[in-house]
Subunit: 428 residues, 2 copies
């Protein structure tokens, strides 16, 4: 750990000049082989576990500052959290952010990002960053993909070019991107298909071991990803296998991609107790406020999801009563803010009528103001969750929140689930 | 004048509640008839006229604060300067901003804007605002338009609906929008067509008198617009006619819409001396840095133009050496900022390589960062112009700036001019 400090308090700085960049092509130390026990590049302090639930309160120390958990990480797919400047993110109190290896590998390329000082220098974010491995995007976005034991070959969704990921190539890419936390390459099958999960798990485990062996960057932590769909025995097998590889953190993958909410929670309830309690636990791709509350209760520490930013760009705004669609005619002449009492810049300064006007008029300021509100909502929710765990009132907080929060259209969610499953099932 | 203060120093405020809005439907005083000499709602202090040129240094006092001149007003067509929050604009030091009556009349409608506290409340800008009359947009944007002595009938470019502007209806709309400065409805013909300008001038003058008579809002100033194309006698006739109507400010209209640069400057050189020297002079729709410098030398005080914001969204960035297109491959791996030494947020934090990545990846953050840089460039240019006038070095500053500034492709500009003329010539 090079430095621990609170995120967002650094002074403005100049773009790094060529001189500074010249020093950023770090020499990675020679890899020390599989099973080595090098000093952790991140450190997790577990402060409290809620006796009334599995909720955990902690601090995740990274080379780019310490962040409190449970934590929600906004997603900056292409090295930008859509519509937000780094100073916007800092003013919202964002801690960890996520970037996508698949997208950045294709454009602008990991070599370029490395030359520009890695993701931190390139996008001017000096808080912690996590990169996924790109595996999920290969399965959900690429135009074609062909799996073999050694890796996966696919066509870029941008230009159709033929590309290939192996555990070793993904480690090289993630090390060049230089996030604080990198993820192993894994296979993400339809969570309800037992046979597919049995086959995939063998590959995911072999790849995890190869990633572990190939990963050498000393200021970056590599997390393992537990797979196994909704099948308790497969999840158990995966948790045990990965625990032996002694990763500094563990993700639960392959959820929120087609199973029901109840299946997701049951899977977490089964899996979380099998993970090393001293290590941070990350639920990938979740989520909606209601899902986060349930997952925190199961002992999850980290979350990421495009939901708050993506739905914002469709005009869907998060409130304690549920989602509000700002495009609806009922808001045309509404002088009140999106949510009374909300302290975000959007709610402090603009009426629903103005926001609706921006969306109807196709003004990008609408996308920005909506994104800002939704991220504020999520980050404040996480603050409230942490405060509730700290004072022992988490279960009451969760029940109170869920009682007031109307879930969005369940049919639409079911359709989305089905679409995600079909995408994954179409894998060659 | 209700209040004079510097722009940008007010504390954050809550969105106005319904109670506050209820009081915003102002009772306009009964109009006092044509030729009345009511107290001015704006006040212009002329501090200096450069003896080596016609450049003027002044202060424009408005109900929403005082701003220094020469001044460039960013354009917020649909009640938003595209991609910018009000706090962004304040941090850039923007003073006056412009909004378009034609667009806001069609969407969301002037009644709604009035109910939301006028433009200031609706878009949360408490600095000065100017609204054009919508006349130019009727000629350049509407799908059809038919002129008669009383007004102009046109079809909305949004939904094809039939709409009508008269001098009286436009005054009503602009008063509801509630800007600090409103503009008269005028006709804007091809500046090179003598016969069209002779016919149009009669109508423009009759409409100016009707606007003057119909305008009653005491906290809003109405400016007259001098027309007459590139024809000195017509410009002279227009300046004399409007001076007699005793407007608190005068615009030079019908330029930068098809004539050459030399014709524009010659027209300003002829027209400006005919305008009352104690009143502010506003050159509508200009412009490019090189045009602003020439027009300041002719005694123009106010400018507005979509140029810096529009070209930013195409990836064209203003530098002291001329425009730079960030999409060009030469910037793909460039670690330096858009302009060395620039103090804007974009240049202080991001490389050309990152900006190019945002544009290539279709990320709206690129539009925002480019707009921010270009507005910073224009507002700093105006600061430098004012400082140079103050210390008597304006002519030297202008020559130095123009010597280093490479004009953008002259052929492209000539094509743009021709296209604008054809649009105006196609008016029924």
């Amino acid at each position: 750990m090079k430095r621990v400090g609170s995120v967002g308090d650094r002074p403005e700085r100049r773009v790094r000049g060529v001189e500074a960049l010249a020093g950023s092509g770090r020499d990675f130390p020679k890899r020390r082989g599989y099973g080595y026990n090098r000093p952790m590049t991140i450190h997790f302090d577990l402060h409290t576990t809620d006796p009334a639930s599995g909720a955990r309160l902690g601090t995740l120390h990274t080379p780019h500052g310490a962040v409190p958990t449970p934590l929600f990480a906004p997603v900056g797919t292409q090295a930008t959290v859509k519509t937000m400047t780094p100073r916007d993110l800092r003013s919202l109190g964002a801690g960890l952010i996520l970037a996508n290896t698949y997208h950045l590998f294709l454009r602008p390329g990991a070599d370029l990002v490395q030359r520009m000082g890695g993701l931190h220098g390139f996008m001017d974010w000096d808080g912690p960053i996590l990169t996924d491995s790109g595996g999920y995007q290969v399965f959900s976005l690429a135009h074609m993909r062909k799996l073999d034991a050694d890796g996966v070959t696919f066509r870029s969704h941008i230009d159709g070019s033929l590309q290939r990921f192996t555990p070793e190539s993904v480690m090289e890419t993630e090390q060049k991107l230089g996030a604080d936390i990198a993820m192993c390459l894994d296979e993400c099958p339809d969570p309800l298909d037992r046979a597919a999960n049995e086959r995939a798990l063998l590959r995911t485990h072999a790849w995890a071991a190869r990633c572990r062996a190939a990963h050498t960057r000393p200021d970056q932590a590599l997390f393992g990803i537990v797979q196994g769909g909704i099948f308790p025995d497969l999840r158990g097998e995966s948790a045990r296998f990965l625990a032996e590889l002694d990763f500094p953190g563990y993700a639960v993958g392959g959820l929120a991609v087609g199973e029901t909410k109840a299946q997701m929670i049951a899977t977490l309830a089964h899996t979380c107790p099998l993970l090393p309690s001293a290590k941070p636990r990350y639920l990938m791709g979740v989520g909606a406020p209601e899902d986060i509350l349930e997952a925190v209760a199961q002992g999850i520490d980290l979350f990421d999801c495009v939901l708050p930013t993506r739905i914002a760009r469709n005009g869907a705004l998060l409130t304690h009563a549920g989602r509000l669609n700002i495009r609806n005619a009922q808001h045309a002449a509404a002088p009140q803010p999106v949510e009374e009492g909300c302290t975000c810049y959007t709610c402090q300064h603009f009426s629903r009528a103005y926001l609706r006007h921006l969306f109807k008029a196709g003004e990008t300021l609408g996308l920005h103001l909506a994104t800002l509100h939704n991220l504020h909502f999520m980050l404040r929710l996480m603050e409230q969750i942490r405060a509730a765990i700290a004072d022992g009132s988490f279960v009451a907080f969760k029940e109170r929140f869920l009682a007031g929060y109307q879930l969005s259209d369940q049919e639409a969610r079911a359709r989305n689930r089905q679409a995600r499953r079909e995408t994954l099932a179409a894998v060659a």
